[in-house]
Subunit: 199 residues, 4 copies
DNA sequence: CATGAATGAGGGTTCATTCAT
DNA sequence: GATGAATGAACCCTCATTCAT
């Protein structure tokens, strides 16, 4: 019971520090932020950070891990298989929706470092991308699509989502204005194709 | 005439430095690379770099600007309007093809910093993304699509391409294997939609 | 009686900690070793160390003190005065023999810090060097040597021993190979001089 | 010629920094001294130190190297072979004499770190100890002593000198008072042995 | 007395940038 | 314009020590 208490305290402190790191990383970016910035924001001493995290980079990993955990938690497919349109909507809507408000800026920081940080990149590829793609592929396979098509489609859709996020982050006004209607519109586009648009 | 000569020399030296920066940024990334690394690779003194560039960040801007210039140069639509499938292939094929081999790694560095660097991001949005999208929108408008649809489609396609690049960079094996056949397959997918796939 | 028990426990704990300190100091040296290293090796918490020792430096003093105590314990001259050769052998053999195996490395650490640490140095000079020299001087005086000669000889011999230890520690192969025969050979050398060697 | 100038400047600056390091190391010891201390004493910026030395430890190596160079310079044997007594006097007198005044304190620092620093120790063993011993051994061999005896004697004498220095540094009053007469007295002692003393 | 999380001063080192030559 | 030594601010991280539990 003592141990359980300890565990809770440690987790709480870790989260306290990660919360602070998320705030200051969001404000200043990863590289410009100093450990002192994080410590001040968290209300702890500099050294305390290192009682909970190996390094500054580990803070980013920790943030990423929390994102991942919460994402995975929400990502489970509904038990009854949805129709293809609902499936597409889900696949598109979910990540777009997950990144609202403050999270966007933080995601930007994480993505940026991910492009450049081998460890973070591997984590993303293995922990998020691969499982998501696998799940989606399986669904499409059950819908009767061949493996090549399945693989292609899930990558096209997930890539599209990721790219739209980047473009949004880059400041595209159209995306910002239409963000809420995107999932439906994109699901239709992916389902029926360009030809399906009432021209 | 003296001035013209001067101009040439300056441009040559700038390119020499940018070439070196591209090499070492590609090898080590932007932040881990020092000005000394660039200077050594370029075969000049550290201080010389500052005769041609304001700062280390300006090197990245310079690299980006060269990418942009070469991209724009290749991006002009053929004079005769292609059919929609050819248009899609072009829109997809071009960026995927542009980023082969070494360029990939450099692009990764640039993207990464772009996410985090306001100036670079604005430059990208204004100089590359916006013109490209505008051109594509215009084409679709001429094909009879409404402005909302046009805007949506070009963003979907360009986002897809960007996202696929990121996923490729993240190490997706499927994408690596199918990279050459992607433009055609994706063009078909975007044209006919998921329904269009022989299920 | 309670107090006696307390006393024993305290002594035991002190020794437990000093043993651990000796081990890790031997492995890593004094400065590179952290209090945490000592605590882990001793199987106690960091803070516990400070219940028994003032500071990290006090650990070294404690180790030194134990060395001193055991050295003094063994150093008592035999009740019957030995002849001069036996005396020299004793004076040489004892310290050389005392520093075998693990003790060597620890001695190195202590010597090193002693050179630099005023308190430790004073302790060594007063507690070890002076008594040893005094005892040896007294013996020589009883053998009929004058005070000047006595002082000189004991310093020459003790210095020689110390210096040989340092050279041994520095890695001299000859000393390593001849270590066991050193006391006899050196005793003869000091007794008869260079001239005494069968040339 | 430009290069020669450069070389001189570099050497001068290195010496300037080493002089400063010697001063502050002598005052405060190696570990307690900060790079900033050295830089201030040398009248340069912190970073400048690292243009000339790899690390703080390299400063000590540099000091040691200068000591070595000057020691070697003075250590050459006279062309005509001295008699054995003169030889012993030389072997004893030289190192004792080399360490006068300020040098003593610095030597203490170097010795201390040498006990603990592998690289420094190796340097000492190879660059100073081994050559000195080899030279002395050779002399004794020429005097008709066998190799075993030669090896033993040179180690005994050199060890004695080193140990006396340590004891001097430790604050022995007798040694301090008799320092100037030591070489002669010790030479006699080593030549004739304890028996040779007029008892 | 034991614990070990918290502390925070401190230090070695880096590196973008400057400027005298 | 080219050089590269000098600069010094800044930063990540360590670790001896404290103290509330």
């Amino acid at each position: 019971m003592k141990d359980a208490m300890q565990e809770l305290l440690i987790t709480a402190r870790r989260n306290q520090i990660l919360d602070a790191a998320a705030v200051v990383f969001t404000q200043k970016g990863f590289h410009p932020t100093t450990i002192r910035d994080v410590a001040r924001e968290a209300g702890v001493a500099d050294g305390t950070i290192y009682n909970y995290f190996e390094s500054k980079a580990a803070l980013l990993m920790g943030i990423f891990e929390r994102m991942r955990a919460s994402a995975v938690q929400q990502a489970a497919l509904p038990p009854s298989l949805p129709d293809q349109r609902a499936f597409l909507r889900l696949m598109i809507h979910h990540p777009l929706n997950a990144l609202r408000d403050n999270d966007f800026a933080l995601f930007r920081i994480v993505i940026s470092e991910m492009m450049v940080n081998e460890e973070l990149r591997t984590l993303y590829a293995r922990q998020i991308l691969a499982p998501t793609l696998a799940m989606a592929e399986e669904y499409l396979a059950q819908q009767g699509y061949g493996p090549d098509h399945s693989r292609l489609v899930v990558r096209a859709v997930s890539g599209m989502v990721l790219g739209l996020i980047v473009e949004y982050v880059a400041g595209d006004a159209t995306l910002r204005d239409a963000w809420d209607t995107l999932p439906d519109a994109l699901a239709d586009l992916m389902l029926h194709g360009l030809e399906g648009l009432s021209s």
